[in-house]
């Protein structure tokens, strides 16, 4: 089990459709050998939760350009309600500093800003997926 590649959902919630970031990240994680489940923008929160459960995702990456990060706390609540609190969530995009604090308090693992190196994102996702897998083994 330990050896399976990280499974990561790359998605956008809310109303914005600027998906250059999410597509570049998805391609880059895939090229790094991960199993990437990519969705088009405007996913409903319950859809993302359902997808995470069905795909046994380790990490959910939310891309946000135009304030959609403001509803990420709703996603965190929904994951908790579904018993999926072990799935790690990262956010990438335009997130103001004070909003970042709010997201971290809501349980988001990490926020990446414009200019972040792809290499660092890959490393972080791999790390988070590993933690989640270890956590699952302990639980089992």
């Amino acid at each position: 089990m330990q050896n399976r590649p990280p499974r990561v959902i790359v998605t956008k919630i809310g109303f914005d459709g600027h998906d250059r970031g999410s597509r570049v990240i998805a391609a880059c994680l895939r090229d790094a050998g991960m199993e990437v489940i990519y969705t088009p923008p405007w996913q409903e929160i319950p859809t993302v939760v359902k997808l995470a459960m069905e795909e046994d995702a380790d990490v959910i990456g939310i891309s946000s350009l135009a304030t959609d990060h403001l509803i990420v706390p709703r996603l965190m609540d929904a994951l908790r309600d579904a018993g999926l609190q072990d799935i790690r969530v990262i956010v990438g995009g335009i997130v103001p500093a004070e909003d970042e604090q709010q997201l971290l308090r809501a349980g988001v693992s990490r926020v990446f800003h414009p200019g972040a190196a792809l290499e660092d994102i890959v490393k972080e996702v791999r790390q988070l997926a590993k933690h989640r897998q270890e956590h699952k083994e302990v639980q089992a």
Partner: protein, 561 residues
């Protein structure tokens, strides 16, 4: 000695000089090898008459306002009138917007824009969506009453307005309803339906995509036909290259794909029997301006030439006004950085220069803080001042097409034109732009270009100051704070929408929406005429979009990784 003899001597001297220079250059240059621009065109260290002789001046360039319009679409260009300074505005409730508009009119603004909230872009009313997202990126306008508040005190017959208003064009419908209430003749209303290009939304900026592609296509053509007839000074179509370039297309690809979309819209109008000399003068374009200055200038000059030739030769337009490539430019947000944000002022200045040298008709300069938030007032003022400085202090507008005749710029213009024409041929061979985007061909090319650029940045081959070079330690807390609308005022606005729905005649709304649904299923009716009727009857934006989605399908673009 005869003239021929003289020119032989000249050519020999030039060859000797060139050989000497090449040796000296090869010995001394740190980077003697070729570099390429963003469009993949190799860039030499020096250009001479050997690269562009000017022998075909009249065929390739001509004079400003003369076919093929390479040097500009008007004889006078900026000596006649400046480009329009059209800054994007939109935030909060209609009252919040109106306050900003009145401020701008007080400062002498002659042109306005209205950017609606993302929930509006996606086709919903304020009572259907998470409250946190209302008005954070644009103004919440859902009804004729909202539009009346937004445009309170704005003289609709005098002030040019650009509405960010994709199919089914409800904002224009609300504006027309407000004009009717005020007794303003629709034919006096000027402005543009921005974001009317459904193809660019399907490909790139998915934010504006509401209806299924072929349904949106139908509504766009209906809209052009209606506006040509009833709102004759309005530009119903803005064909957009900006989204594709922001999504990663190279400048050459962005120009080429945009012209391919233009071909499809024009051919749809021709298929309805519309007159190219009537509809083409009302086509406009909207492009991104990156910091790659000379490449952008060449992109615009080449685009102007290719479009003029398409209009005359392919669409059969005879009126010179129908050959004009009118475009709005926006400085590229993708080039801006979160690191050392004030550096963005310099970037925007270079981008704006590229647009001005490229001969644009209307310009939006980004505020340096757009990487963080909807612009603060101070940043928005700097953005406007940048335009004023370039025009009036630097006097960039004194000479028409000032880079024309540069061996480099002319040679680059020709090479961009070749690249553009090659892509147009490829898309034609794929069955036109609709077929090319439905098969994912265009999205794939753009995705590859985006990843290639990011890879160059990561490898340090493309410098971005403060990001991959010249970094300094910064404290993120010093960055500008976000501005979100006042929660209470927004909640009151949502309650007002409920009151609006209670107070209107439900029978009239039901009838109008029924007519709209029927029009959508009948080839003979004009769907946009029914949207206007529905808006006047009190139907909301969300209701109109929902009706058309039921009949024409929900817009879900193809996304490819």
């Amino acid at each position: 000695m005869n003239r021929e003899g003289q020119s032989t001597v000249g050519a020999q001297a030039m060859q000797a000089s060139r050989d000497r220079w090449q040796q000296e250059f090869a010995a001394g240059a740190k980077q003697p090898g070729p570099t390429t621009n963003r469009s993949g065109i190799p860039i030499k260290p020096l250009y001479t008459p050997e690269d562009w002789s000017g022998a075909q001046y009249m065929e390739q360039l001509g004079f400003p306002g003369e076919y093929p319009n390479t040097r500009g679409i008007y004889p006078t260009m900026y000596r006649g009138r400046s480009w329009s300074q059209r800054q994007l505005i939109g935030l909060g409730t209609p009252e919040d917007y109106n306050q900003r508009v009145k401020e701008l009119m007080g400062l002498g603004a002659s042109a306005l824009s209205l950017i609606p909230c993302n929930s509006v872009f996606r086709g919903y009313d304020a009572d259907e969506v998470p409250a946190e997202l209302l008005g954070t990126c644009g103004t919440v306008v859902n009804s004729v009453d909202d539009m009346a508040l937004a445009f309170d005190g704005v003289p609709l017959g005098e002030m040019s307005t650009a509405l960010n208003d994709p199919a089914p064009f409800t904002l224009l419908a609300f504006a027309l309803a407000v004009a009717r209430r005020r007794g303003v003749d629709w034919n006096r209303i000027t402005g543009t339906s921005n974001q009317s290009d459904c193809i660019s939304h399907f490909v790139a900026n998915h934010m504006f995509f509401r209806l299924a592609l072929q349904g949106a296509r139908r509504v766009v053509t209906d809209h052009i036909a209606f506006v040509n007839q009833h709102v004759r000074q309005w530009n119903p179509l803005s064909i957009v290259g900006q989204h594709m370039q922001q999504a990663g297309a190279t400048p050459a690809e962005a120009m080429a794909f945009t012209l391919c979309s233009g071909i499809q819209y024009a051919e749809d109008c021709l298929a309805r029997g519309m007159d190219p000399d009537q509809f083409l003068p009302r086509f406009t374009f909207f492009f991104d301006i990156s910091i790659s200055l000379f490449e952008e200038v060449a992109k615009f000059r080449a685009g102007r030439r290719v479009w003029a030739r398409l209009c005359r030769e392919r669409f059969g337009a005879k009126d010179p006004r129908a050959w004009r490539f009118k475009f709005h430019g926006q400085t590229s947000g993708v080039d801006l950085t979160r690191q050392q944000p004030l550096n963005n002022v310099s970037r925007v200045t270079v981008q704006a220069m590229a647009g001005i040298f490229g001969g644009l008709q209307s310009l939006h300069t980004d505020s340096y803080d757009e990487v963080f938030t909807v612009p603060t007032q101070q940043a928005a003022r700097i953005a406007v001042a940048t335009q004023n400085i370039l025009r009036e202090e630097a006097q960039l507008t004194d000479v028409i097409d000032p880079l024309g005749g540069s061996w480099y710029v002319e040679s680059l213009t020709d090479q961009m034109e070749q690249k553009i024409n090659a892509i147009i041929e490829m898309v034609d061979a794929a069955g036109g732009m609709y077929a090319a985007v439905e098969s994912g061909l265009v999205q794939k090319m753009i995705g590859e270009s985006a990843l290639a650029f990011q890879t160059r940045v990561d490898a340090g081959e493309q410098t971005i100051v403060g990001v991959n070079k010249y970094q300094i330690e910064e404290d993120a807390r010093d960055y500008p704070a976000p501005q979100y609308p006042d929660r209470e005022r927004m909640a009151a606005h949502v309650r007002r929408l409920a009151e609006f729905k209670t107070n209107r005649s439900q029978a009239a709304v039901d009838r109008a929406l029924g007519d709209l649904a029927r029009a959508a299923n009948s080839k003979k009716d004009n769907t946009f005429a029914q949207v206007v009727d529905a808006a006047e009857a009190g139907a909301t934006h969300g209701e109109i979009c929902a009706t058309l989605r039921r009949e024409l399908g929900f817009g879900q673009p193809l996304t490819i990784v």
